[in-house]
Symmetry: C2
Subunit: 418 residues, 2 copies
């Protein structure tokens, strides 16, 4: 079964706003075996809306729209679809009463304009909206299903979950989408592409999306099938091949972020962590603590932009900074070891570098970052040269620091650790 | 002149990837007076592609596509448009030589498959691609303009800038889009909506988009006009009215982020800043230092998750934590004053709260955050109760801390400051 998603709203045709609802809707439709073959974004112009819905009905079995169900003149989804199907709108007294009741609950009188939200296309099934005033509508016509949903995300999510998905599940579609979610660190997107793309030809039934985000590279191999066992087996095979190609850079195969992996490794090893950051300015601490429960293993961090603070808060010798420079392997290591000692953490991480856009020199260009890691036995350091602007450089640095902690436990841990 | 944007790529029909190119294209088209009335996303299925382009030509004067110009079997944009117009493709020897040359420069032989990228639709103008192998194509047919561009963002940007925009500018469209970019802090989206929406009726020619981002609320009033003076005057008027309605919550009217405003205020006042964060875990330091040049006024920060570090690194008395709790007005103030003293900064900021999902109690629920601010004369504190999940709570806390610094200089600064 094929679907088209239509997002309605003039603000979605500005340079500011993306239709993000369609990602949610795609995931939900995929989960009940429906493929999305087309997406459209349209404003509130009646002719444009008519054209969008008409063309969608030409090519898709299922048309799901979101938006345009509000109470104003600009909310034209109901009227557009009614016109297109040659049907009338009628006022549904039960919905009208529910809308009035909702306003009463918030101690307000219902503005007359909101009565428009009780208009229902003749023959439509009303999908009650538990989170707002505009109900959804389910229409079967000309061999197609048309579902009208509101654009407000939490209303859309509730309606999809409670009303739409159960109805779609009853259509008895046997095909399903099977998928994996691989997370990768320590490689650029093009490196990942180069390593795994030779596999695509060997698994022609599988499609793979590669995605570069601020939190790392993701690979999503997927396959449509009505045979779960066969599909899972094939995904296992391609994931195994990808794991071989990616080696130690593969962080997880079921969508865990590197923060979660680091959290698990720290917890399993009864270890704690503290960080001293210069060029990342708090980003590494932010990433670690964005994960709930991080207070169990994250003791704290210091953001030491100035040389004075590197010395006073973390104990980096002023002479070392003077001799080697603030951006140096020695200072990275001293930051890592210093914050570990000051906080009593098992692991200390230190980052120093040049995020730019200014401050680079021929010897120490923008993008140069040294990352140190220390435990009670030893401290070591890696040098990186990252591409991109300030934000990308800081992101790469935080990600690679997390990756060094991961590798510390998985690949480089000496015998005898607790 | 009306345009439709078609984004081509099967990965854009997965739950993972959004078509972000269309935001860039919309801004560029708007800047030369062209309105975007429709956007479509389509995969690499030949029938679906044919349908997308055919319908776009039905309704738009200009059709801009991005993607589907690669060298593989799945890259079908050229063939689709040629078929639709009843034209043939021919191999352009000059392009082919450029592609070969590009491979030679990277010391590689051109794979035979890449010859496909030299195929040009009969009658098309070739738009040379300075950043990649696939050139763009500009086709005039049946009273329409069709522009085919690659989907790789930096190639798309270069081609749009150098080849497409100058050609569109020569069409002599007199109408232009005029716009403002207001940034707001200290209010939720619904508050902003409630304050400014009564203005919409008074300025019916103006459309306003409201946008809630992790970095605050944005308002974008805009107007299409062929009379720049009149348009700017009307925008000035509505912005003045919005400023009245928003009061001290208005951060800027020309798109500056609150970090930039805080940077300017600190610089103008020859002041420096340091922060001590608990629940935001480094996010405030990260926000401040994400702005280039921040090393001039940001001295450093401490992320003190544990009570011990609040005492040892920032000097919060252990008895105070024991008596009042780590999440308390007293500790927020002590963090602000403590980090100020430890670092010698002009301004200290302290944040303590419960970001959740766990750790809340009936007296101190998830979302409770105390933010302290101190200078050498005094320290004060504000209590917030933020809605949402961990990420939203941390975001609100960092934003409101920045806002307290802004207000400190603009509205609450005692006389005699430097």
């Amino acid at each position: 079964m094929n679907a088209e998603i239509i997002a309605v709203g003039s603000e979605l045709l500005t340079p500011y706003r993306l239709d993000t609802n369609s990602l949610f809707l795609t995931a939900e439709l995929n989960s009940v075996g429906i493929r999305v073959v087309h997406k459209a974004v349209v404003g509130d112009d009646p002719d444009e809306m008519h054209s969008s819905f008409a063309h969608a009905l030409d090519r898709a079995d299922l048309v799901v729209s979101c938006g345009g169900l509000g109470p104003t003149d600009d909310d034209r989804t109901r009227q557009t679809v009614a016109d297109l199907l040659g049907r009338k709108l009628h006022c549904d007294e039960a919905i009208l009463e529910k809308i009035r009741e909702r306003f009463r609950r918030f101690a307000r009188a219902m503005p007359e304009i909101n009565a428009r939200q009780a208009l229902v296309i003749d023959g439509a099934t009303v999908l009650p909206n538990p989170k707002g005033t505009a109900p959804g509508q389910w229409i079967e016509a000309k061999g197609h299903i048309i579902v009208l949903l509101p654009g407000v995300p939490h209303e859309l999510h509730a309606l999809m979950e409670v009303e739409v998905k159960p109805r779609l599940a009853r259509l008895g579609i046997r095909e399903r989408l099977f998928t994996r979610d691989l997370r990768i660190s320590g490689l650029f997107e093009s490196d990942v592409e180069q390593r795994v793309s030779p596999l695509y030809a060997a698994y022609p039934e599988t499609e793979t999306t590669i995605l570069a985000t601020a939190r790392g590279i993701e690979l999503h191999p997927r396959i449509w099938s009505d045979d779960p066992q066969k599909a899972e087996k094939m995904l296992d095979q391609i994931v195994n091949q990808m794991a071989l190609a990616l080696g130690e850079n593969l962080v997880s195969t079921h969508g865990e972020y590197i923060e979660e992996i680091v959290a698990r490794l720290l917890t399993e090893n009864h270890a704690t962590i503290a960080v001293a950051e210069s060029c990342t300015g708090g980003l590494l601490a932010e990433r670690i603590t964005n994960y709930p429960g991080s207070s169990a293993y994250f003791l704290g961090g210091v953001v030491c932009y100035s040389n004075e603070l590197k010395t006073s808060l973390v104990g980096v010798p002023a002479e070392m900074i003077a001799a080697k420079g603030a951006v140096s392997p020695e200072v990275a290591t001293a930051l890592a070891d210093g914050i570990r000692k000051r906080t009593g953490a098992t692991i200390g991480v230190g980052i120093t570098g040049i995020a730019g856009p200014n401050g680079g020199t021929p010897e120490k260009p923008v993008g140069l970052v040294h990352i140190g890691i220390a435990d009670e036995r030893s401290a070591r350091e890696r040098k990186f040269q990252f591409p991109g602007d300030r934000e990308r450089i800081r992101n790469f640095a935080a990600l690679n620091a997390l990756d060094m902690v991961r590798r510390h436990f998985l690949f480089a841990a000496p015998p005898g650790r607790s």
